[in-house]
Amino acid sequence: MSANILEVSGLKTYYKTRLKEKVFAVDGVDFDLEEGKTLGIAGESGCGKSTLALSLMGFYFPPLHYGSGSIRIHGNDIMKLSKEQLRSKVSGREIAYIPQAAMNALNPTLRIIRFIEDIMKEHRPELSKKQVWELASERFKTLNLPEKVLRSYPNELSGGMKQRTVIAISTILNPKVLIADEPTSALDVTSQKAVIKLLKDLLNKKYIRSLVFITHELPLLYHVTDDIMVMYAGEIVERGTAEQMIFDPVHPYTKKLMGSILVPEEGMKGQKLAAIPGAPPNLKQVPPGCRFAERCSYARDECKVGKVPVQTNGGNMYRCHFDTDTLKEWYANEQS
C-alpha cells in the first residue's frame, strides 16, 4: 500500500453545453496527497477549482461529464466502481465533500439530528435512534460544538455555526479525505477562525486523515495547509510547499497572485497591490501554448505556441517555458 492517500492522474472532466460543445474545466490534472497532509488549491474565479473538487467525488451529473484519467484512494481507482458502489462505499466514508455555500443547503424544516439519522440509515442501519443520538452528541462534544445544536432548526443557528455543523455532519463517518470548497468565504473573520479551528481539530483527532482546502484567501492557506497548488484555466500551474509558494513563487501567475494578498501588517499601507489585467481565457477556445501568456508580462513569442513543459524547482513543479533562474532574475530586475 502506498503512502499516498489520494492519487489523481490525467483527470479530464468537461461540461457539455446545449450546442454539444465540450468545455474542459479540468484539463489533465495530476497530483497526489500523502496521508496526514493537507493540500490547498488556489486560483482566480473560473479556473476550475470547484469543478476539480466536484470531480474528485466521482459523481458526475450533467452538464458535467467524465473525460479520462483516474482517481485512486489508497490505490483503488474509484472511477472503476459503479454508481451504486460509489454511493454506498466511497462517498462519506472514503471521501467527503463540502460544497460552496453548503450551509444554505440544510433543509429548514428539519432539526439537525435528522440529517445525521439520514446518513446513518444508509451507512449504518444497525444503529438505533438512541445510539445515533449518543454518537452524534459525543462527536459534537469532542469538537466543542454545543449539544443543543442537534435539537435546533437550521434557521436558529448563525452562519458560522451552520457551517461548522455542516462540517461536523459530513465527517461523521470519518472519511479519509475531506474536500472543503470555500468553507469560509461567506463568514466574517471571527467565524472563519472557528471553522479553521474545527478543521484542525478534525485532523488532530484523526477523524479525517487528509484535507483538500479550496479558497482564494492565500493567507488562510498559508496557515492551514502543508502544500499549495495553483490552478489556472483548468491546469495546475505550480505546486509547492506553503512556505515556498507564498514567499518564493516561481510561476509568473503565482507571483501575481501572491502580490494581491491583503493583510493588516505594518508596511502594507501604501504598497501597490498587483492586479492582473484581463480575464482567464474562455475554455471553449483554449489558446495554444501557455494559457497564461495573454496576461503575462514576461511572455515571449515562443510562449504562445507549442506545449508548455513541466519543470521542477527542488521538489516542486511548475508549468512554464522558462527555467527558475531566468524567472527569478526577471523578478529581481523588476523590483530594482
Binding site: 467565524s191 494581491s260 501588517e265 499601507k269
Partner: protein, 267 residues
C-alpha cells in the same frame, strides 16, 4: 486633502428594530464626523450594525433617534425633490452584485439612467461618448456590453459596472458596503485601485463597510470599529491596526490570518 471640511456628521444616531420583548438596538448612539476626500472604514463582525448604519446614512432607513447633518445642515428627506437632490450627492455599491441590478434593463439603459438622474440634456453622440468613457475607466468594453442584460455578466464585471455608474455620477459621497467580499483576490485589487483613483480624481468621500481588517487598513485614512451597535474605537488607520487599544479590536485583528507572523488558533 483637507481635514477641515466636515461633510457628514452623525450625532447619537440610533436605530431600534421591533417592539417590547423583541426590541433590538442595531445602532446605539453612534457619533461620527466624515470629512471631504477622506476614506473611512467601518469594521465589525456580522450583526454589529454596520449595514444598518450605512443604510441610515444613505437615507434608506429612518433613524429612531439622533440626527445626521449634511454639509452643516440637518438632513431633510421629506419631499421627493429633497431625496433626489440628496441621492445625487450620495451613492452606494452593495455587497451582492447579482441583486443590485434590475434584471430587465440592459446595460445601456442602466448607464442612461445615470445621465437622466443628473438632469443633463445631451445629444446622442455625447451620451454615447460619456457611457463609453465610463466603461473604459473600469476596463470594460462598452461595445461588447451595451446590449447585454446584467445576468449575462460575471460578478467582477457587474461590480465594475457599478463603479462605472459612480464614475458617471461623480457623487460627493460613496458608500461601499462590502464591495469585494463576493469577488476573488485578483478582482479585489482591481476594484480597490479604481476606487482609490476615483477619490484622487474627484475628491470623493468613500465610506467602506467591511469585516476585512486587511482591506480597511490598506485603503482607509480613518477606521471606526463597531461592536454590537456601538463604536468602540476610532482613529487614524495606522494607530488602530498597529496599536489597538480596545479588547474587541485586538481580538478582531488577531483573528485575521497574517503571513509574516504566526496565527494563534488557541486550543
Amino acid at each position: 486633502m483637507s481635514n477641515r471640511d466636515l461633510l457628514i456628521r452623525g450625532q447619537d444616531l440610533t436605530k431600534v428594530f421591533g417592539y417590547g420583548n423583541q426590541k433590538t438596538t442595531a445602532v446605539d448612539a453612534v457619533n461620527f464626523n466624515f470629512h471631504k476626500g477622506e476614506i473611512i472604514s467601518i469594521v465589525g463582525e456580522s450583526g454589529s450594525g454596520k449595514t444598518t448604519l450605512a443604510k441610515m446614512i444613505m437615507g434608506l432607513l429612518k433613524e429612531s433617534g439622533g440626527s445626521i447633518e449634511y454639509k452643516g445642515q440637518p438632513r431633510s428627506l421629506k419631499s421627493h425633490a429633497d431625496r433626489k437632490r440628496y441621492w445625487k450627492d450620495i451613492q452606494a455599491i452593495f455587497q451582492d452584485p447579482f441583486s443590485s441590478f434590475n434584471l430587465f434593463y440592459r446595460v445601456e439603459k442602466l448607464l442612461m439612467d445615470c445621465i437622466k438622474l443628473q438632469g443633463l440634456k445631451l445629444s446622442k453622440e455625447e451620451q454615447q461618448r460619456k457611457m463609453r468613457e465610463a466603461c473604459s475607466f473600469v476596463n470594460l468594453k462598452f461595445e461588447e456590453l451595451h446590449n447585454k442584460y446584467p445576468f449575462e455578466l460575471s460578478g467582477g464585471q457587474m461590480q465594475r459596472l457599478m463603479i462605472a455608474r459612480i464614475f458617471m455620477l461623480h457623487p460627493k459621497v460613496l458608500i461601499a458596503d462590502e464591495p469585494t467580499s463576493m469577488v476573488d483576490a485578483c478582482s479585489r485589487s482591481t476594484i480597490l485601485d479604481m476606487l482609490l483613483k476615483l477619490r484622487d480624481e474627484n475628491g470623493m468621500t468613500i465610506i467602506f463597510i467591511t469585516h476585512d481588517v486587511g482591506l480597511a487598513y490598506y485603503v482607509s485614512d480613518t477606521i471606526y470599529i463597531m461592536e454590537k451597535g456601538k463604536i468602540v474605537e476610532s482613529g487614524p488607520a495606522e494607530d488602530i491596526i498597529l496599536n489597538p487599544q480596545h479588547k474587541y479590536t485586538q481580538q478582531l485583528i488577531s483573528d485575521v490570518p497574517k503571513i509574516h507572523s504566526a496565527w494563534d488558533l488557541g486550543s
